[in-house]
Symmetry: C2
Subunit: 325 residues, 2 copies
C-alpha cells in the first residue's frame, strides 16, 4: 500500500487530497497519514497542506525498486529487488535465496558491513556512496563457461558508464578502471554440479560518489570513484538501471548457449590491459609478460619471453607510471 | 553426558552400578536413570538389574558418531558428524552449513525425504537400509579440478566394498555397480569463485540392505543392493567407516595440489566402462562409441567412428546384455 501511495504521488503533479487517495485505495485517511509518515521516514520529502492534501517534493537517493523501475527497460533482470539499508554482503544474501528465486532477481544494499572482493578480500562499501548489488542467474551452460559471465558484467558496466558520459576501461577479467584507477569490481560465484549450474551470483560494486577521504589512503594510488574522476555527483539510480539494462541485453544472448562475442568485443576494444606489461599471479608464483588479446573463450593471451600463453583466471596487475596497479 | 555414559557402558563387560556411574560423572542416580532411558529409546538394549546395575546388551543399527568412531582411522574426515534420523537431503544440509564448518565434517541421515542424484533426479533413500551422507571439503585446487574429486569418492567406495569382501566396478564418473547393477551414486556439488573453491559437498548414497521390493520395479534392471547381490546383510557402520577411511587416504594426496593418480588407477583397473560400447549423452544429443581409457585428467577417452575424443563430464550408459544400462 505504501508503494501504491508513493506511485500515485509520483504520477501526480499537483496536490492529492487524503480524501482522493482514500477513495482510490479504499483505506482510511488515518491509515494514509501513517503511510505518508513512513514515506517521510524513508527520505521522501512530502508537503502536506490542509484542505489541499499531499504533494511529493523530492525522492531520496535510495536504490529501491520504486526508485529505479521507471528507468528499467529489462524484462527480468532487476524486476524483483531485495533492498537493504544495510547488510553483511549482497552476494551472501543472494546465495542464500538463490535456490528459491528466479534468475534476474537482485539484492541491493546501501551499505555492506562485510563486502567482499575476490579471494575473500574486503570491499569497502560506505553508505549510499556506491552501488552494491548482486544478480541471481541460472544460465543453461556448462559450469566451465561461467568465467565468461564476469566479462558480460564488465562489458555492461562499461556500456552503462559510457551512457552517462564517463569513459572507462575494462581491466580483464573483473575490474573497471577510470583514468587508470579502479572504480568497480565484480565477484562471480557459482554453485554447480559437475556438468550443471545450480545458480550463479554476480556481485557488482561501484565506487560512485565516494570522496577522496572515503578511500583508504594506501589504496588511493589504485582506487578512485566516479565522482572524483568526473568532478561531479553521479545519479546512482540512473547508473544502476543502466547497468541492469545493458547486462540483460548481453545476458539474453548468453543464457542458453553461452554466446559472448559481443561482450568480449567490448572488453577487447576498451581493455586497460591489452598491449600493456602485466604481472600474472597464480598461487605464489608471479610472472611478467605482455598482454596481447582476449580470445573467444574470454581468456587473456599473454606473451612470456616470446611464447604466447592463455591465462584463464589468474590475477593480473598492469604496469602503470607509478608501478604496477 | 548421554554419550559419556554410553561409552562407559561400551567399555565395560560386566554390570555397572548406578552408584559407580554417578561417582565417575558426578551426576545423580536419577539423572543417570533418565539418560539410560533415553539410550533405550535410541535403540540401545540395556539390561538393568537392581543391586547390580546396567549392562549394554546390544547397540542399534544407526550411523551416529558413537557407533562408527571405533572403526574410524581418519584424522579429520568424519570426526564431526551431523546425524539425522530423517532429513530432506544430506547434500542440502551440508551446503547450508559448509561456510561455517571445517572440511571433513559429514552429514549423515538414516532417511532422505528429498534425496537427489545428478541433474536433480530423485534418489530413493529408504530408512536405515542404505548409507546416505555428505562430506564437506575445502581443497586448495582450482575449481576446474573438482571433477576429479568424484573419482576419489568412487575409488574410496570401491576399496571399502573390497575390504568387506564385495567385488564392485566403477561406472565412470560417479556410480558403483555390482554385477552390472548400480549400488552407489555420488553427487558432487561445488560453490566457487572464478579461481577459488569456497567449498565442495560430496554426497554418497549406497544401497546397502535394501530388499528387492525396496527398489522401484522399473529400476530393477539397473539398480540393486549389496544385500541382494551378496546374499546377506551388510554391516552399515563398518562400511561407512571404511568409506571414510579410504576416502581420507586418497583425499590427503589431493587436497593441496590435486594429486589423483592413485584414485584414477583404481577407477581404471576396476572400470565397468572401459572396453565397453557406451552411449554418451550431452544435452539432447546422443552418440555411441567405445570407451577406451580414463586419462590422467580423469576424463573418459571414447572412440567415435575411429576418432578418439575425451568426454569431460557427460553422462554415459553402458551396453549390457539386455540393452543399455
Amino acid at each position: 500500500m505504501k508503494n501504491k501511495i508513493l506511485n500515485l504521488l509520483k504520477e501526480s503533479d499537483d496536490f492529492l487530497s487524503g480524501e482522493k487517495i482514500s477513495e482510490v485505495f479504499g483505506v482510511t485517511r488515518a491509515a494514509i497519514w501513517k503511510y505518508i509518515n513512513s514515506l517521510k521516514e524513508d527520505g521522501y520529502e512530502i508537503e502536506s497542506i490542509s484542505r489541499k492534501g499531499y504533494r511529493l517534493l523530492s525522492s531520496p537517493d535510495i536504490l529501491t525498486y520504486e526508485e529505479i523501475k521507471d528507468k528499467l527497460k529489462t524484462e527480468f533482470v532487476g524486476r524483483k529487488v531485495y533492498y537493504y539499508d544495510s547488510i553483511d554482503s549482497t552476494n551472501k544474501m543472494a546465495k542464500d535465496i538463490a535456490h528459491n528465486e528466479k534468475e534476474g532477481v537482485i539484492v541491493v544494499a546501501e551499505e555492506q558491513l562485510e563486502g567482499r572482493g575476490r579471494l575473500g578480500r574486503h570491499w569497502e562499501s560506505p553508505k549510499k556512496k556506491g552501488i552494491y548489488f548482486s544478480i541471481i542467474l541460472k544460465p543453461q551452460v556448462p559450469p566451465m563457461k561461467v568465467a565468461k559471465l564476469t566479462l558480460l558484467g564488465a562489458a555492461a558496466v562499461y556500456q552503462a558508464l559510457d551512457e552517462i558520459g564517463i569513459n572507462s576501461q575494462i581491466k580483464w577479467p573483473n575490474d573497471i578502471v577510470v583514468n587508470g584507477k579502479k572504480v568497480c569490481g565484480i565477484l562471480t560465484e557459482m554453485s554447480s554440479e559437475l556438468n550443471m549450474i545450480n545458480h550463479v551470483v554476480m556481485g557488482i560494486g561501484v565506487n560512485v560518489n565516494l570522496e577522496e577521504n572515503d578511500i583508504l589512503e594506501d589504496l588511493q594510488h589504485k582506487a578512485t570513484s566516479l565522482k572524483i574522476e568526473s568532478k561531479g555527483k553521479v545519479d546512482r539510480k540512473k547508473l544502476l538501471a543502466a547497468i541492469l539494462n545493458k547486462f540483460e541485453n548481453l545476458y539474453i544472448l548468453f543464457k542458453d548457449g553461452g554466446e559472448t562475442s559481443q561482450a568480449i568485443e567490448i572488453c577487447r576494444e576498451n581493455s586497460a590491459v591489452i598491449d600493456k606489461e602485466v604481472q600474472v599471479f597464480s598461487g605464489s608464483s608471479k610472472r611478467v609478460g605482455k598482454a596481447l588479446d582476449i580470445n573467444e573463450e574470454g581468456e587473456l593471451l599473454v606473451e612470456f619471453d616470446g611464447k604466447i600463453e592463455t591465462v584463464f583466471s589468474g590475477e593480473i596487475s598492469i604496469r602503470g607510471i607509478d608501478g604496477y596497479i
